[in-house]
């Protein structure tokens, strides 16, 4: 049973292959709505906006917000500052890790309810588990950065998380904090497969900000594989990425 909703400004699809589970899927969508209400920097009444406005002290933040801040800070250290939730104009925007974190939590909710074969896809970042309705591995297509209707690679993540960061849809929505004015027009898309979708997402975001060095950064991370496409249509893959290709 598959359903799609638009939440947080992006299509979110949940597919539970085990059974018809409308209440469970609705519960997951409600979770994403709650995340949006709490973490949206576009909503003046959200917890993150209140924090940025100085109306809530860090000590008084919700457990979810503290959890996300901790993940964002760890990611900043692990990527040598290439992931940074500090905004150029002041305040913080942890949205680079919120999506992966929210997907992971939604997947945890499905598992807690007994689902064994499912995927959660939020804006192209995916946590899958088990098999599809035909009993086969879930197959994820990597979208072409040049032609959105085209797929340039098909992978079976087999329970691992998949996330893609790119400059092609939003314009340069990721920037290099060490050189904010630099255009990242060389690498246009990088897909990361990691232990779970949160891990894949936070390192995909940072790797894109690194430009051409990003795929080498992923190569150096144990348990991660990547596929980067540059503006000229050349793809570079990490050593063991091929093991996921179907």
């Amino acid at each position: 049973m598959r359903q799609t909703c638009i939440i947080m400004g992006m299509p979110i699809t949940i597919d539970v292959a085990d059974r018809c589970a409308p209440a469970l899927i609705a519960q997951c969508f409600a979770w994403f709505e709650a995340v949006d209400a709490r973490f949206s920097t576009y909503k003046p009444e959200s917890e993150i906006s209140l924090f940025n406005a100085g109306q809530v002290a860090e000590a008084d933040l919700s457990a979810d917000m503290k959890d996300v801040f901790a993940i964002a800070r760890t990611t900043s250290v692990e990527t040598n500052g290439f992931f940074d939730m500090a905004r150029p104009g002041g305040g913080v925007d942890p949205s680079g890790v919120v999506k992966g974190w929210a997907i992971k939590k939604a997947a945890d909710m499905l598992v807690a309810d007994g689902a064994q074969n499912f995927f959660v896809d939020a804006g192209g970042d995916i946590q899958s588990c088990g098999k599809n309705a035909e009993g086969e591995d879930w197959r994820v297509g990597i979208r072409s950065p040049f032609k959105l209707s085209e797929v340039i690679k098909i992978v079976a993540p087999r329970g691992q998380g998949v996330a893609t960061s790119g400059t092609y849809v939003r314009g340069a929505h990721v920037y290099n904090p060490h050189a904010p004015q630099e255009r990242l027009d060389d690498v246009v898309s990088i897909t990361v497969i990691g232990p779970d979708v949160l891990e894949a997402d936070r390192f995909a975001t940072a790797a894109l900000a690194m430009g051409k060095a990003g795929i080498y950064f992923i190569e150096g991370l144990e348990g991660f594989e990547g596929y980067a496409v540059n503006a000229r249509g050349m793809a570079t893959q990490t050593s063991h990425f091929g093991g996921f290709v179907v």
Binding site: G124, Y216, G220
Partner: protein, 121 residues
């Protein structure tokens, strides 16, 4: 730019400059051993020495490399990771899901909403 600098860039990820496929705009390499400058490779400083024989890269050794973080560990082990490259061509085959950068344009969402509304009927 001197050739030695170009070789250092290989480590930084600009391998496309010097490997097949992208090598069409040929760079002429002269034989010898060249040591590059020291560059910040984000996870620390990197400096390499390359040996060219017959106009081809015969060997690349890291003279200086970072060794303090988990990030750099496996890169160090290989000195120069050679990563496979290919042309990103369209693939066909059965897929369940698509991974791509977040699609947030209003036009896209509007159109998708229409499509979802239609498919919901």
């Amino acid at each position: 730019m001197k050739i030695s600098e170009k070789l250092v860039l290989v480590f930084g990820g600009a391998a496309a400059m010097l490997v097949p496929h992208a090598a069409a705009q040929a760079v002429t390499l002269h034989d010898g051993t060249f040591t590059g400058g020291t560059y910040d490779a984000y996870y620390g400083n990197v400096q390499v020495k390359a040996t060219i024989q017959g106009g081809q890269i015969a060997n690349v050794q890291a003279v200086q490399f970072p060794n303090h973080s988990r990030t750099s560990r496996s890169i160090n082990a290989q000195a120069l990771p050679y990563l496979q490259q290919e042309v990103a061509d369209a693939q066909s085959g059965k897929i369940d899901i698509i991974s791509g950068a977040t699609l947030t344009s209003r036009a896209y969402i509007k159109s998708l909403r229409d499509a979802l509304n239609q498919s919901a009927k």
